[in-house]
Amino acid sequence: MKIRSLLTVAVASVAAFGMAGVALAKVDRVVVAQGVYPVSFDPHRDVGIPSRVVNANVFESLVVRDVKLQLTPGLAESHKRIDDTTWEFKLRKNVKFHNGEPFDAQDVKFSLERVLDPAEKSPQRGWINTVEKVVVVNPLTVRIVTKGPDPVLPARMSLIFMVPDKYTREAGNEKFAASPVGTGPYKVGKWVRGDYVDLDAYDGYWGPKPSVKSARFRAIPDTAARVSALRAGDVHLITNLPPDFLDTIRKAPNLAVETVPSSRVLFIALVNKQGPMKDERVRQAINHAVDVKGIIDGLLLGNGKRSGSVNGHLLRLLGESFEEPLYEYNPAKAKQLLAAAGYPNGFEVSLDSPSGRYTMDKDISQVVASQLAAVGIKVNVKIHEWGTYTGKFTTHNVEPMYMLGWSLPSLDPDHWATPLLGAGEPIANFESEKVNGIITAARRELDPAKRTALYRDLNREVHKEAPWLFLFQYVDTYGVNSSAIGWMARSDETINLREMTLK
């Protein structure tokens, strides 16, 4: 009896401590955990998402994407096209950098030229490589001249963050990265590289004052540890929650899973330069032979949306209508198409696959291989570490089938079409005059409605020609301490603290 009551006390106290684990009290500082620490607080130094997530709270661009991903005024109140190659941006008045320096046209010129200057070695140079020159008209007006007609220019301007001309020059790059200065709603506070960075609300911010006054971005590389930190109440928001942890989070009190369709698509490119892949019917057969829905349900536990085009998912994310054409899973039809193309007994082919870069990447490659085997196509899967793999697919050194996931922060449809399917592009390995023709026309079309119409055409053509084994659009998953914060995930993978509320 005595022992039993002792046990009860022990169990109860463990349970009580367990409950105490998830914070119920109001939080002073919101803690966000990503898997990776930002490479640099110099906003022109890196192209990776973890850096961008932090820097987007400290710095601002001329144009910004709102929660619905529409381009809206940022540091520029408005912009208009003067002629085919000239864009004029009117800047916001009374904007001050964190050090008190006023923001004006000279800072725009300096920031853009800093990215464009080869000596600065900024990896973001390609993002604005269509810019010919930047002209200061007056302190609040700046003109950007492009090398040719560039409908993507406003979207490009959402990528480049503004830094102060005077301070950056005087401080030099190293000091700037150590004590960065932007115009954003948060200032960089204390940081320990590899561990955390604190952001504190900037009192002099020109826009609405954010609800979250103080935040910390931590790096917790191990997924299980990241989930544990959320469950322990040490952090309030975690990124990249893998499918097998979703249930744990959903069942925990005060925790919630936040999901959003991602702009990232996963596909297996089919190189049509030689061999069986030259035949459109073979590429269509491959699409009919793989049960993509089964892969999404089985490997991603439903966290993906089937795709059948190059940027149809993106048109929808941006608020345009487009009905995604999908290949029916039909191995019998696949066999017929293979026979019609002259491969009744199938063939042998290799598939390059990354490992650990995209959720379940190599597992998906292996399932695809086994399903293709069922229609007679023997696939040898070659798995590569990401660093080695980038060296291969950026130099056309790939097998006839290779897996790639794609997303770029500009969210412009062209940045899915041109790099992946355009003629002569470094990572494109598909030859089709028709596809390339539409891509080129869309890239030069300055009328937004006509441009969208061209992309609808493109997607239907791409679906038919099947340059890829179309897989799916990822669904991004986050773990949230819903008793502490209110927050909605964005499809562009950024975490804007000003869009967050404290509970």
Binding site: G21, D42, G126, R218, A232, W386, T388, T418
Partner: protein
């Protein structure tokens, strides 16, 4: 003594030179970092321009000579990714790694040596088996699994300790213990076997025959002699922990050198990887030297054998 030291330091420079050469060429064999530094959709022209800017186009031998001349002047170069001096980036993280290593090694020694001694003295008894089972378990437990289990218990369930990060002393407890378990096992086993060897020696029997208290026989006569191989193992263990704390650092998001090394390897940030290897191997060389000097203090035979001639 001074001559001996100087000779060892002179030898050490060749070791470091060798390490530097091997690491440089091995890394550069592993591929071109350009692809990982630029956005995936960068054009061929942008890639070519970037390569020239970074000096990747030059012959490997020239790149090596350039690097070598830099290093002998104490300059480890700039990180490709961070655009900041490598030495600063490494030194920023060294205190975290040293703190974790020292804490776990201390913990390991405090537990393992008494455990090993007890096991040896009670050789063949249940205590011995229990101690050695514990050691075996410690050595067989995957660090990753143990770390996560401790987090689940002490952070998620009990809420007593933070789940990770490096702040106050409370954040050190779980990672230090996790890291210590493996070393504990090894040190306990070496202590036990060393003690068993020594306890069977004639001079121990003589000491006992003279009626010296068992405690003094064990700790003064036996342990001091058994300590010689132990010092080597502990010295090596320190080196292993320094470089091998990667998993612990990852599980507990401890901002140390190990994790930085792994990140930099995957990002092909050569200057950083080379820098870390150089710094860690320097530490390793220094530890080895310290162990050898400690030897001569512990074992007069080595001194007499002419180490200092």
């Amino acid at each position: 003594m001074l001559v001996y030291l100087l000779r060892r330091l002179y030898q050490a420079t060749f070791v470091l030179l060798g390490v530097m050469t091997i690491v440089f060429f091995l890394l550069h064999l592993s591929g071109d970092p350009t692809q990982l530094l630029l956005p995936l959709d960068a054009t061929a022209a942008e890639r070519a321009a970037f390569r020239t800017q970074m000096g990747f186009d030059d012959p490997l031998a020239l790149q090596f000579v350039r690097y070598f001349l830099q290093v002998v002047q104490g300059d480890l170069g700039y990180s490709y990714r961070h655009g900041e001096p490598v030495l600063g980036l490494i030194l920023e993280r060294v205190p975290a790694t040293f703190q974790l290593t020292l804490a776990s090694l201390t913990l390991a020694i405090l537990v393992a040596i008494p455990l090993g001694v007890v096991a040896a003295v009670r050789h063949g008894t249940a205590t011995d088996s229990a101690a050695m089972t514990f050691a075996l378990l410690g050595q067989a437990t995957p660090v990753y699994w143990l770390g996560l289990l401790l987090i689940l218990l002490f952070s998620v369930k009990l809420g007593w300790l933070p789940s990770g990060g490096r702040a106050g002393p409370e954040t050190l407890i779980l990672p230090a213990f996790t890291l210590a378990v493996f070393s504990m096992a090894r040190i306990a086993r070496i202590t036990r076997s060393g003690m068993l060897d020594v306890l069977g020696q004639d001079y121990i029997r003589t000491a006992r025959a003279k009626g010296i208290v068992e405690r003094i026989v064990v700790f003064k006569y036996a342990l001091r002699n058994a300590a010689i191989p132990l010092i080597t193992v502990i010295g090596l263990e320190f080196g292993v922990l320094l470089g091998g704390a990667v998993i612990t650092e990852t599980v507990f998001s401890w901002p140390g050198v190990g994790r930085f090394a792994i990140d930099s390897i995957f990002a092909r940030d050569y200057p950083v990887v080379q820098g870390i290897v150089l710094v860690l191997s320097s530490v390793f060389v220094i530890i080895n030297l310290a162990v050898d000097i400690l030897y001569t203090y512990l074992d007069p035979r080595i001194r007499e054998a002419g180490a200092f001639k």
